[in-house]
C-alpha cells in the first residue's frame, strides 16, 4: 500500500475513534439543553424517556459498549437565486446536522434497544436549528408478535408524490418540504403476525407539533406560521392519547394495508389570524379526527401501480376523501446499458378542492427516476407537480452519489412557477433553491 494511502487510513481510523468518543457523549451531554427544552413541551412522558436515555447511554460499561454505533454528520448549503418575498427572510444558508444511532440486541436478537438522536444547527433560521429524538425504543420480537415501546418511527404507504396515508409520525417540515422527514413519536406498538397478514395496534401518548420555518426561514408560507398561536381541539392538547390500527398483507403481486387512526390530526388546519402585534399570521389548529385509509400496490412486471386513499372526519365542518394514485414504469437496462429509467405519473386529489389546507388538491405529478446501478449508487429523481386548476408548478430534483466508502454527496433543488395568489404555494414563489449536501457516515 502506498504511503499516502496508509496515512489516509490512519487518519480515517483516528477520525473514527474521534466520532466514537464524540457520539458517546453527544446524545446526553451536548444535546442536554435540547432534550430539556423538548421535555418541557412533552411533559411527563418525555421526562421519563429522557431519564431512560441518560440511564441507558451513561450506564457504566456493559450496555453502551456492547452495542453498535452508526450514523452520519452532514453539512448543507442552500443557494437561493431570488431575493426573498419578506425582507426578514435569510439569503444563502449554511447548516450542519448529525444523527448518530445506537443499537444493542440481546436474547438471541429477539430483544433490542435503538437510540437515534438528531440535531441540526441552521445559520439563518433558528426554528430550523432543532433537535429531536427520532428513536428511543425497546423491541421484543416473538414468533407471532412484536412489541415496541418508546419513541419510534413508522412508515405507511406506497406513492412518491405525497404521503397521504402515513400518519403515525409528525412531519419535520423544516427539514424538507417533501414530508419524508419525521419527528419521533412516543408509542406502544403491538404487531400480531398471522398467516393472513400482520395487525399492528398503536397507542400514541403525546402529540408532536409540526415544525414550521420561522420568520427568517426559507422556504416558508406567506404569511408565516406562528407556532406560538397553535390551537388544539382537545383540551388535553399535546397530552391527548391517539390510537391507530392497521392490517397489512400481500396476495401474489398485490401488497395492501388498511388502517384506522383516531386522534389529533398530524396536518393542522391553517387559520389566518392577527397576532398580538396586529400582523397577519397563520395559526395551526390541530383537530381530533377519525381516518380510514387504504394503500395498495400491484407489482406487475415492469409496472408498479399504486394507490393511497383516505377518508377523514373531524377536520373542518365536513367529512372528506383524498387520494393519490398512479404508476411507476421502469425501463431496465436503458439502451443496453445497466442504467434503469423509471417513469412516474401520479394524480393527487382532495375532495375539499381549493379550500384544502394542502398543497395538492387536484394535481398531476410526473417524474423520472434515473438509476445508474454503479458502484457509487448514483441516482437522480426529477419530479414535477402541476396544479390542474391554476397551472402552478413545483419542480423538485434529488440526486445523490457515494464518494469513496464513507461519504455521500447530494444535490437537491426546488423551484416554484406560476404560483397563484390564493394558493398556499404562493408563499414559496421566491424560495427556489439549490442545495448541496455532503455527509460523512460512520
Amino acid at each position: 500500500m502506498p504511503a499516502k494511502w496508509i496515512a489516509l487510513a490512519t487518519a480515517a481510523q483516528r477520525a473514527q475513534r474521534f466520532h466514537d468518543i464524540v457520539f458517546l457523549r453527544v446524545p446526553c451531554v451536548a444535546s442536554g439543553p435540547f432534550i430539556a427544552g423538548m421535555a418541557r413541551s412533552y411533559g411527563n412522558v418525555m421526562n421519563r424517556l429522557t431519564t431512560l436515555c441518560l440511564t441507558v447511554l451513561l450506564w457504566p460499561g456493559s450496555i453502551a459498549l456492547a452495542g453498535e454505533w452508526s450514523g452520519y454528520l452532514s453539512g448543507e448549503y442552500r443557494y437561493f437565486p431570488v431575493e426573498a418575498s419578506d425582507p426578514r427572510q435569510h439569503g444563502n444558508n449554511l447548516s450542519f446536522s448529525a444523527q448518530p444511532e445506537y443499537y444493542h440486541e440481546w436474547d438471541d436478537g429477539r430483544q433490542s434497544i435503538t437510540v437515534v438522536p438528531f440535531a441540526r444547527w441552521n445559520q439563518g433560521d433558528n426554528k430550523r436549528s432543532h433537535a429531536d429524538i427520532r428513536e428511543l425504543n425497546w423491541l421484543k420480537a416473538s414468533d407471532n408478535w412484536e412489541l415496541r415501546i418508546g419513541i419510534g418511527k413508522v412508515y405507511w404507504g406506497v406513492t412518491e408524490s405525497q404521503h397521504l396515508v402515513d400518519i403515525i409520525n409528525q412531519t419535520d417540515f423544516v427539514e424538507n418540504l417533501d414530508g419524508e422527514d419525521k419527528l419521533g413519536q412516543p408509542m406502544i406498538q403491538l404487531a400480531l403476525i398471522r398467516d393472513w397478514g400482520s395487525v399492528d395496534l398503536f397507542v400514541l401518548p403525546g402529540f408532536r407539533e409540526r415544525t414550521f420555518a420561522g420568520a427568517n426561514g426559507r422556504p416558508r408560507f406567506q404569511p408565516r406560521v406562528d407556532t406560538g398561536l397553535t390551537q388544539y381541539e382537545s383540551s388535553r392538547e399535546q397530552r391527548n392519547i391517539d390510537y391507530a390500527a392497521r392490517w397489512s398483507h400481500y396476495i401474489g403481486d398485490w401488497d395492501f394495508g388498511l388502517s384506522y387512526f383516531h386522534g389529533t390530526s398530524r396536518d393542522p388546519t391553517l387559520l389566518p389570524i392577527l397576532n398580538t402585534g396586529g400582523k397577519l399570521v397563520i395559526a395551526p389548529r390541530y383537530e381530533i379526527i377519525d381516518q380510514f385509509s387504504l394503500d395498495l400496490q400491484a407489482t406487475l412486471g415492469d409496472w408498479l401501480w399504486k394507490l393511497e386513499a383516505i377518508h377523514r372526519s373531524g377536520q373542518g365542518n365536513r367529512n372528506y376523501a383524498a387520494a393519490t394514485g398512479g404508476f411507476e414504469y421502469t425501463i431496465i437496462g436503458l439502451f443496453g446499458s445497466s442504467y434503469d429509467l423509471g417513469l412516474i405519473a401520479e394524480t393527487l386529489w382532495d375532495e375539499r378542492g381549493e379550500n384544502a389546507p394542502t398543497l395538492f388538491d387536484n394535481d398531476t405529478m410526473i417524474g423520472v427516476r434515473f438509476t445508474l446501478n454503479d458502484a457509487d449508487s448514483s441516482e437522480l429523481l426529477l419530479g414535477l407537480v402541476i396544479d390542474n386548476n391554476d397551472q402552478s408548478r413545483m419542480l423538485s430534483i434529488e440526486g445523490s452519489r457515494r464518494i469513496g466508502q464513507r461519504w455521500k454527496l447530494s444535490i437537491d433543488a426546488r423551484a416554484f412557477a406560476n404560483t397563484q395568489k390564493n394558493s398556499l404555494l404562493y408563499g414559496f414563489r421566491d424560495d427556489d433553491y439549490l442545495q448541496l449536501e455532503i455527509a460523512r457516515y460512520f
Binding site: A191, G301, D302, W303, S338, A375, R402, G404
Partner: protein
C-alpha cells in the same frame, strides 16, 4: 459386482424423475440434453436438506483502473421444499446503506417476490423482480447470478468431460428458461466430485462472452454441503471485476418462515 447395482441405481434414479418414458433408456442412449439435465438434478439433490443457512459476505468491486470499493452483507437463506428458497440480505457497508435489507422469495417458474427495506424512511417497498440482468449493488454480479438456482430455471446440454486445473469436470451448457435474463447461455465446469461449479462463462444477448466466474476455496459443511470461500467474476467487456469472499457459513440454525417476512425485514440488523 457388489457395487454395481448401487452405482447404476444412482444414475437411473434422477432419470426416473423425468417420467416413465425415459425408463427404457440406458445412460448411453441419453441425448446431450437429457444428460445435462440429469447432472443438474443430481447436483440439486446433493445440495438438498441443508434447511437454513447463514453466511457473511464481503464484496470487493474493482473498476478498470483497479480502484476498489467494498460491500459487507450478511445473508440468511431458508430452504423451501417444492419451491425456490427464501433469502434475506442485510447490508452493513457502505455505511450510507447500512440497515438496508433485501427479502426475496424465489420461485422455480413464476417471477420471484422481492421487497426492499429502506431504513432512513422505515419504508418497505415491493420491487419488481424483472431486473434480473441488473447489477447487484453496483457489482459485476447480476441479480440472476446470486439468487437461488432452481433446476427448472434452465434447460441443459451436456458438452463434454474435461479436466480443469487437474480436477475432472462435466462441462454443461445452461439456457435460462425464465424471462428477462441478460444471458443466452452459460457454460459451466461442474466438479465431478462436489457437483459444484468451478468456473462459469456468461454469454450476453449478442452471444459474445460477457463474464467469467471462478469459484474456489470450497469447503464441505455438515459432511455433505460444499460451499465456495471465494467467487471471482471478471467482466470482459468493461474490464471491471468483483470478488466475493464468503465466511462464517452456518447451517440448520433454526430459522423459520417467520424470519423471512416483512416484519423481520423491518427489524433486520
Amino acid at each position: 459386482m457388489q457395487k454395481l447395482p448401487n452405482s447404476s441405481l444412482k444414475r437411473i434414479l434422477p432419470i426416473t424423475l423425468f417420467g416413465l418414458s425415459l425408463l427404457p433408456l440406458t445412460a448411453n442412449a441419453e441425448s446431450a440434453e437429457e444428460k445435462g439435465l440429469a447432472i443438474a438434478i443430481k447436483a440439486d439433490q446433493l445440495d438438498t436438506g441443508w434447511g437454513d443457512q447463514t453466511a457473511d459476505l464481503k464484496m470487493v468491486l474493482r473498476n478498470r483502473h483497479g480502484q476498489e470499493s467494498t460491500r459487507e452483507i450478511r445473508s440468511r437463506t431458508l430452504e423451501v421444499e417444492g419451491d425456490g428458497d427464501k433469502s434475506l440480505s442485510i447490508f452493513d457497508d457502505p455505511r450510507d446503506v447500512k440497515g438496508t435489507a433485501f427479502l426475496s422469495f424465489t420461485h422455480a417458474t413464476k417471477p420471484d417476490d422481492q421487497w426492499l427495506y429502506l431504513p432512513a424512511l422505515k419504508r418497505v417497498k415491493r420491487i419488481s423482480s424483472n431486473n434480473k440482468s441488473g447489477p447487484f449493488m453496483g457489482s459485476e454480479f447480476a441479480y440472476e447470478d446470486i439468487t437461488s438456482q432452481e433446476v427448472e430455471k434452465y434447460t441443459y446440454k451436456y458438452l463434454r468431460d474435461e479436466d480443469l486445473d487437474g480436477r475432472p469436470t462435466f462441462v454443461l451448457e445452461r439456457y435460462p428458461a425464465y424471462k428477462h435474463s441478460g444471458y443466452t447461455r452459460l457454460v459451466t465446469w461442474l466438479d465431478k466430485e462436489m457437483y459444484q461449479p468451478l468456473k462459469m462463462e456468461f454469454y450476453d444477448r449478442k452471444e459474445s462472452l460477457l463474464k467469467t466466474l471462478v469459484s474456489s476455496d470450497y469447503k464441505q459443511y455438515q459432511g455433505k454441503f460444499w460451499r465456495p470461500g471465494k467467487m471471482s467474476m471478471i467482466n470482459h467487456q468493461t474490464k471491471k471485476s468483483t470478488d466475493l469472499f464468503w465466511s462464517n457459513y452456518r447451517f440448520k440454525t433454526g430459522l423459520t418462515d417467520r424470519d423471512f417476512d416483512r416484519n423481520s425485514l423491518k427489524r433486520a440488523r
